[in-house]
Amino acid sequence: MTETLIQGLLLGGLYCLFSLGLSLMFGVMRLTNIAQGDFIVAGGFAAICIAPLVGGSPLLAGLVLLPLAFGAGYLLQRGLLNRTLGKDPLPSLVVTFGLSIVIQNLLLEVFSASPRSLESGELSTGSLSLGGDIVVGTLPLLIFVAALAATVGLQLLFARTPLGRAFRAVSDDREVAELMGVRSAHVYALATALATVLIALAGLFQGLRTTVSPADGPLLLLFAFESVIIGGMGSFWGTFVGAMVLGVSQQVGFGFDPGWGVWFGHLVFLAVLVVRPNGLFPKTKG
């Protein structure tokens, strides 16, 4: 029981990293990124490509990957996604859906359909004892700590910094924020850049922990989405808790039958939607 709970929470750490980017982009500009999962997979493949160039260290690969992701996210928002924003959600949905198809097929063409993983050396085999007979892997624990740090970091960024103030301002009322001198196109691009960094980090960890393959994206998107909705929109802590709930639910489902984990997670998500449509910790509404 304790074992299932701990494994579930550690899995939730990974899901939290999947979902923070989605939560951030929706929160700042009401943009739903259907390609979120494919971005994560692309991040994983990028890490796999970079690692051999920097001597195989995942840490160094991350140091190269994250700034690149920041730049790519910024350009994507400035060059493409800013054009799709508006009252009507249709353009952004169709464009990100199209992007998802483009990324999947591009990855399939370049890397073929077989799953790949990132060599992590001793990171994947190491483990820590938490007292008693409970032992957790170093890597899952590291992912959990990273998720916690990212959540705290985003919360602080939004609450305490000028950039966070700009994010909240354009989210509340774009036109008024622009009248106050906020360059919304730039602010949106920074939000997506930040989200893309989190996505790339999630992809790196996904590649280290298990495998990535070009067709994985949609399922990862659904996990990210479920975490956001279970937790309640507009709050990063909500997303964090939502990811934990989803991770534990899936782990419990896996316990019954190896094929039931994902299904059980979906059912818990639907149950939350029935009982608490605004999530467990709602802050803003769609």
Binding site: F26, I34, L90, P91, V95, V102, L267, L270, L273
Partner: protein, 344 residues
Amino acid sequence: MGATVIRSTRGSKAVLAGAVVAVVVAASLPLWGESSWMREFVEISCYLIFAMMWNLLAGYGGMVSVGQQAFFGLGGYVMLALGNLYGVNPFLAIPIAAAVAALASLPVSKLAFRLQGGYFSIGTWVIAEVFRLSIANVSAVGGGSGTSLTALRGISRSVRESTTYWVALACVVASVALVYVFLRSKEGLALQAIRDSEVAAESQGIGVERMKLAVYVVAAFGCGMAGALYFVSNLRISPDAAFGVDWTAFAIFIVMIGGIGRIEGPVIGAIVFWALNKFCSDYGTWYQLGLGLLAIVMTLFFREGLGGFLNRRLGFDMLPTRRILKLGAEPVALKSQPVVEARV
């Protein structure tokens, strides 16, 4: 000064007459055509009906669903279960399967409508995944690996193929006609008002929520019908094929090519899609990648689609659903008159 409401033009009547002739010619195809043509037609019919339903949802109801494959797959599986397990004629099972899909959409809408905008889209996708994973656990219909439709075994191949073809033609004509008549009715006017502005429509006394639910149920019916038809023709079903998100991907592509929020859009889009499939599908991943890119480009730069472009070049709507108010007593050519679009 008098005023008249224009609901059709000489051009649109000609289009309608041409369509009737085309349907009559198409109905005789089993007498002179090849069986591969019939199979192709049946397949593209399923795409067309599915895309029309997606257009109704996204283009008119403002509901960008990524999960209509839930009803497509359900329709297929209900038809198969009725045929294989209960001995119902699969052709007769098609309307029953569509009705079951429509019925199922009522409780599903209770869940899906709790989410708005983009989150509605992904929520419907999760629901479709739940359908897929749930059916994969039902061993009576083959579980995760699927099963074959055995109910048509006694029927000869040529009879089966031409019957499937005629049923498909009937389904397409019925779907287009239903959507057309519906959009020209009072309720259709309400729906177009919702498309143009939800707030304004609501302020004029239109029950927006009720209307959206109606569209959702109708779309589920159509998707269920398309699914049942597809697997009558295909003879083999599996959860991955029936509930795959590819169905929605192709529907989005078809609608964006033809023009969203216009009835002729999916028809034109389906023809283009058929041609592209025929000549380019050998390119595999590059072809799919191209479809994705084309959908992005159409959305950003040609929202009116090919349908809108053609209407503009022709100077009249091919399948008019608008009510155009013409001021002035004597009827003159439509183009030279000041027209006010009835938005009610």
